[in-house]
């Protein structure tokens, strides 16, 4: 099992949520103080270097026009991390390729980071959460089609070495694709795809990519993994090893359960602060029509504010969204979900969020790395892929 530290790198110093409609897309950037922000960027980058020193792997992502994540360009962040770290694998999860206008540019960016890191990059592609559509001004209809065409173009750009090719696609058009550099890793960096929905698992399984389950809890994750396996079996492909599956959770390890919970409570800001109205959560065409109608009816007269709202560490532990407590408690919680879903090879650990300060973050990472991680490594080494 590999454990990957990540933070969305928030700017949490905001006015009372009562004073704004949405934390994403429309919150004016006058609430961002560059002096504070600059310190945050440097602190978050320091924490990734510390993760590298602790033997953890590293993950970063990007979001746009939001205080929940001040990294709108993950290639920049990962380029810095590539240069500053020595051994950690570097996971970009992910490039929002249905929103990026120029897939060839994505292929180039990833190739550069792969080279600077000397082949430590792992490349994730995401469709993106719905509010990213507004920020990217991208077309919400036909996102899935655009996503896969962009993926195809990027893969072709990475793996073509005999000079230019033309791409006359349905959604992308690019003459004379011929990227320099080409990726360090051959044939290309490992590919991951985030999936929140069991329905998207089969296609990822066909490709043999790593399926990253984000906050999908016990049942959702189990279903995603099952659908992935089933599809490969159906096609007569080899059974997937556990390293094809990743699970993301909010994790804080303390010396005691109390301290673990305290840290996790701060990390819960990630869920509780996500105030987003319905028209950003549900742009036209993002969901199927049936799902859309249900969402609109559920919201009814009020807007879909605070999709998660106030919650508790205990509640989220029950759901498998949070793992928190002392090292043994955290291990047991992870194992419980691990056993339920049939095992997974990657743990994506949101080890920092909101107001969790630097020292607290580092303490949590250290305890995890020293006391929990070794046992997790044994867990998936001892086990074998589920039938």
């Amino acid at each position: 099992m590999r454990a990957w530290h990540f933070s969305e790198n928030a700017y949490p110093y905001l006015p009372d949520p009562e004073t704004y409609d949405s934390i994403r897309v429309t919150l004016p950037n006058r609430y961002y103080d560059p002096k504070i922000g600059a310190e945050l960027y440097n602190r978050y980058l320091d924490e990734w270097v510390i993760a590298d020193d602790l033997g953890l792997e590293i993950m970063a992502n990007e979001h746009h026009q939001t205080a929940t994540c001040i990294d709108p360009a993950v290639p920049i962040i990962m380029g810095i991390v590539a240069r500053e770290t020595k051994r950690a694998r570097l996971l970009v999860l992910g490039n929002p390729i249905a929103n990026r206008r120029q897939p060839v540019r994505v292929a180039e960016e990833m190739a550069v980071v792969d080279n600077i890191s000397r082949g430590r990059l792992e490349v994730g592609f995401v469709r993106g959460v719905p509010y990213e559509i507004s920020a990217a001004n991208s077309h919400p209809v036909r996102m899935q089609e655009r996503f896969w065409e962009a993926h195809d173009l990027i893969l072709k750009a990475w793996t073509s070495h005999d000079g230019p090719f033309n791409w006359e696609g349905r959604y992308f058009h690019h003459r004379q694709v011929n990227i320099w550099p080409r990726p360090y890793q051959q044939p290309h960096p490992p590919v991951w795809i985030t999936t929140l929905n069991p329905k998207s698992a089969p296609k990822i399984g066909e490709k043999g990519y790593v399926a990253a389950c984000f906050l999908t809890g016990f049942e959702g994750t189990k279903q995603i993994i099952a659908n992935y396996r089933a599809r490969r079996a159906e096609l007569g492909l080899s059974a997937p090893a556990l390293d094809r599956f990743a699970y993301a959770a909010l994790i804080y390890t303390g010396e005691t359960d109390e301290l673990g919970y305290e840290g996790a409570r701060k990390i819960l800001w990630y869920l509780e602060a996500n105030k987003v109205p319905l028209h950003f959560v549900n742009p036209p065409g993002y969901l199927s029509l049936e799902a859309n109608i249900q969402a609109v009816r559920a919201a009814g007269q009020r807007m879909g504010y605070q999709a998660f709202g106030k919650t508790s560490v205990e509640e989220q532990i029950q759901k498998g969204i949070v793992f928190a407590g002392n090292p043994d408690t955290v291990y047991q919680q992870i194992k419980r979900l691990y056993d339920h879903v049939g095992g997974f090879g990657h743990l994506l650990m949101m080890g920092q969020a909101g107001f969790l300060e630097h020292q607290e973050t580092v303490r949590g990472l250290e305890l995890f790395a020293r006391e929990v991680y070794p046992r997790l490594k044994e867990l998936s080494n001892g086990g074998s892929p589920a039938p």
Binding site: N137, V141, H279, P283, P284, L289, I293, V296, M303
Partner: protein, 269 residues
């Protein structure tokens, strides 16, 4: 609710392989009325008023209400071509083509391509031309209910039309319609930079009707239409918003009847 038989009938016809739902009623010269991007509300009082003087055909635009959705469509011009085909299919001549809002954008595109079947063009708070002052209100940025409400002169007019509690079916309709609108009018939002150039030789008399308090499509768009079209006149309705034909059906119908009877055409100053 009365117990008399309805004054309209419904049927479907096929255009370019797509099933198009039509509502028809009235007697007289043919009038074809299109609807807003939020979908058709059925046989509204405005159609009833028109039906006294015209044989009214109100199609559900392709992709809206009960008309089949062309998933391949990418811009309003695609829908306009389909609607011109509908005029051919129904073999309508000397048509008074009426379009409010997004329907007006479609109607203008139709006329730009082929006005041989048209007697008159009526554009009501029509989208389609980029305003020089102000912006066309972007429905993609707001909750559907807020957007529709902004189409009225005030909240009271909205409540009068839809009641204290908006029926769930309307939420469904607005959401369903919004997806189709996104398919064809996402970018640029609700206008075509080429359209004004293509209207320069649309000779048929055009009546432009704008609510004075239109908060969705600026009055400036009406002025620009009047400049682009060779025979156009802009009529401003006082104390009315974007949905002027919902707020003042009788007045708007009368303006249209008068225009068709005695076409007055004059460029806006």
């Amino acid at each position: 609710m009365t117990t008399t038989t309805p004054n309209w009938t419904e049927r479907t016809t096929l255009v370019a392989g797509l099933s198009i739902h039509l509502t028809e009623g009235g007697q007289g010269d043919p009038a074809v009325v299109l609807h807003h991007s939020t979908g058709s509300l059925g046989w509204i009082p405005f159609y009833e008023a028109l039906a006294r003087r015209f044989s009214v055909t109100a199609p559900d635009l392709p992709g809206y209400n009960q008309s089949e959705r062309p998933v391949w469509a990418r811009e309003p011009r695609d829908l306009a071509i389909l609607m011109n085909r509908l005029l051919d299919r129904l073999d309508l001549r000397r048509v008074t083509l009426i379009g409010p809002g997004f329907g007006g954008f479609i109607a203008a595109e139709m006329a730009a391509m082929n006005s041989s079947r048209l007697q008159a063009l009526v554009l009501i708070g029509a989208a389609g031309i980029r305003p020089e002052r102000g912006e066309i209100m972007d429905q993609m940025l707001f909750k559907d209910e807020h957007y529709v409400k902004s189409g009225f002169r005030d909240e009271a007019a909205f409540r009068e039309m839809f009641g204290e509690e908006v029926p769930l079916e309307l939420y469904d309709l607005w959401d369903f319609s919004r997806e189709m609108t996104a398919r064809v009018a996402w970018r640029p939002y609700m206008y075509n930079r080429r359209l004004p150039h293509l209207l320069r030789e649309v000779e048929i008399p055009t009546l432009l009707i704008w609510g004075e308090q239109d908060r969705i499509v600026p009055l400036n768009c009406g002025e620009l239409y009047a400049q682009a079209l060779p025979h156009a006149r802009l009529e401003i309705v006082k104390n009315a918003g974007h949905l002027v034909e919902l707020e003042e059906p009788e007045q708007v119908a009368r303006l249209i009847e008068t225009q068709v009877a005695t076409p007055v055409t004059r460029r806006a100053e």
